[in-house]
């Protein structure tokens, strides 16, 4: 795949070289013309609102009264307010549940299933992918019921004699964030699994045959063939699930409303409450911009890391 990507531009360039500089410029111009409709939509619905958000983040504004310019005050407030800062720390904890745990589990299962054909693979994938298809609001409401003091999880624990562990999961100061995080794991896992299984099927099976001939064990097989073979899928899984974790809102909204106390208050929830409940639109925008920049930095850093490894 990488080979074909690399060769494509060089072939294109050689074609253009034959046509000459004048028509080259013309061709470029036409190309941009074709891009124009998409570009306009992108400018109108992505870039413009983002710029507007950035502008609002420098204002003290309740959404309807005349705003006042406050410069960087809103950003200073984010740094100063312990609860807002703590939200970003909770996001990092959620990454553990939304991203790392599903990938670890996914790799484990892939390691077990790889190197031999999977019977009923598509059926299996469909089932695993189900949580991804469900609207997050449905997922949140169902899990809130699962976690309720008289819900199925506690009933299950009691029925196997572990009634002492039964508790109000989402109202418990220690357990609420991990409980929400586990739902994130449940949702992400299917996506990660489908990605990794598909990737594993693309690894030529003769590599495994060769390894076996050389006397490699399952663990060696995993590290020498499966893991490097899944490199691209892992990068995609990491980036997508980390973004999902940092933007987590739906589950918080439907399951805990940021509580108990502030235990599940994450940045996206703060953006919502600050903007819409407290009518501090400027501070809310500043939080949103901070979150967006943070996501961009993490994704960019991941991309760089991957590039370097590839070389």
């Amino acid at each position: 795949m990488t080979v074909s990507l690399r060769s494509a531009p060089s072939r294109g360039r050689s074609l253009l070289r034959g046509i000459g500089p004048r028509s080259f410029a013309e061709a470029q111009w036409t190309a941009y013309l074709y891009l124009l409709p998409a570009l306009l939509l992108f400018l109108a619905f992505v870039i413009y609102p983002m710029m507007q958000g950035a502008w609002i983040s420098f204002l003290d504004w309740n959404g309807f009264s005349p705003p006042t310019w406050v410069g960087l005050d809103n950003y200073v407030e984010i740094l100063r307010d312990g609860n807002l800062r703590a939200g970003f720390v909770r996001s990092v904890i959620l990454i553990l549940f939304y991203s790392l745990l599903p990938i670890a589990l996914g790799l484990l299962i892939t390691a077990i299933l790889s190197s031999r054909p999977i019977r009923g693979a598509s059926w299996f994938r469909g089932i695993l992918f189900l949580p991804q298809v469900l609207p997050i609001v449905v997922v949140g409401i169902v899990w809130r019921w699962m976690y309720a003091p008289d819900g199925p999880i506690n009933a299950g624990l009691t029925s196997i004699g572990l009634g002492g562990l039964a508790t109000g999961w989402l109202g418990d100061f220690t357990l609420a964030l991990p409980a929400v995080g586990m739902v994130g794991t449940w949702v992400s896992f299917g996506f990660v699994m489908v990605l990794l299984l598909t990737g594993a099927q693309a690894i030529p099976s003769d590599l495994y045959d060769a390894a076996r001939v050389d006397g490699a064990g399952r663990v060696q097989e995993f590290f020498a063939i499966t893991l490097p073979g899944l490199h691209n899928q892992l990068v995609v899984a990491l980036i997508v699930t980390i973004i999902t974790a940092l933007r987590a809102f739906g589950l918080i909204y439907t399951m805990t409303s940021g509580g108990p106390g502030y235990e599940t208050t994450v940045p996206a929830w703060n953006v919502y409450t600050t903007t819409f409940r407290y009518h501090q639109v400027g501070l809310g925008a500043a939080l949103g911009i901070t979150l967006a920049v943070l996501i961009f930095v993490i994704v960019f850093a991941l991309g760089r890391l991957v590039e370097r490894e590839r070389r």
């Binding site: 959404g63 309807f64 009264s65 109202g171 805990t256 509580g259 108990p260 106390g261 409940r277 009518h279």
Partner: protein, 439 residues
Amino acid sequence: MVGAAAIMVGTLIAPSAVVAADASAGPVTDPAACGTDPITLVTVDVEGGNPGPTAAIDQLYAEFMAMYPNVTIERVKTAYNDLVAKQPLDLSGPNPPDLTQIVGDNKAFAEYGNQGLILKLDDYAARYGWTERSGAAQLFNSSFDENGQIGTGSLYGVPQVQEVVGLFYNKEKLAQLGLELPTTWEDFLASLDAAKTAGEIPMMLGNVEGWPAGHVYAMAYNRFVPTAVINGWTYHTDPSASFDSAGFRDASALLQQWGTGGYLTPDFNSVSYDDAWKRFTEGEGLYLPAGSWLTGGIQEAMGDKGGFFLAPPSQQNPALQVEGGPGQAWAISAGSEHPDCAAALIDFMTSERGGEILIENNVPPGFTMSNVPELGAGAYADLIAALQDVNREYQVSAYEGTATPTIGEVIRAGNAAVLAGRMTPEDFVKSVQAEYEKG
């Protein structure tokens, strides 16, 4: 009384139905208000989830539309927190509702008025006599001057109901425990111990939303802190009033004792408000500390087995005082094309007939009526009696969570943490005062 009411409805409906085009006929309060052309009034309220109030509003609208046949009322029901989020957009947008309940903190209400998003109601109040009917205390929160100072200046809203926070109780359970209804705070605390010893849940609380514990806390701090201090702090009229003081702290310590000592519903931070009060009506718990807005639901479910009383005074603070105040005020948006008709609807909602409809639905009217119907036993009759006491001899403490836009959230989060033993009462009152000083 029910018979008399029916006769009255009959006389109201009949003439206007016969002469539909001529709305001036019959005992319509203000025939000119809605004209004769077909018009639609859009109203927004947050009562959809409260069985009594929501039924009362539907009935009021039906009777108003019968009186003014050219008027169609389009009712929009919104959840409280959703309306907090969209009210600024609602009112400043191109299609504001004609009539809306105002939600959120006092500052937001004053901003709507001073930014010209809702109308001054002084002229309507003078024409219809709203001030006499509702009384200064009911209208206090809905009046403000151009600096946003509450309790003075012009009138911008009219509340329909009056609220107090008190204690619902299970009469059978109280008798089983051999207890009398407590008349002092100390007796009340002793009754909690008695219930706990007998294996009953002393107080039902569902606090997954965070705010329900606020009313339990308010019940407690009203036994420690005088109303003048609470209101001076909430309305920013007394610079010396501080939340970081002994009374608020001691009340928070009591809350912590209740939360960590098994005085409340198990796993209260995981139980929803609605589940808690419904479980109370099904026989769980001795008391339910909550607001009068639940009376309709509790009366319906428990009949004369349920009761209501106000938390009694303590030795420390012997004043008769209670948390409460007006319900959500109705305001007319500045963008309404039919402000006179909207005002006529407010007038009807707070009229003698409007009061009867509220009472039929177990909702306490927030205005005087010349005839209050006979009531049977149960929580609703107790509530009406309690409100008469409140209006005669109690001081009413404001909802402290309306002091600033963000203070409510800090109190909600703090109470949950205090109840769970995760925050000391000292830290709690300090955090609230610090947030207050941010404005």
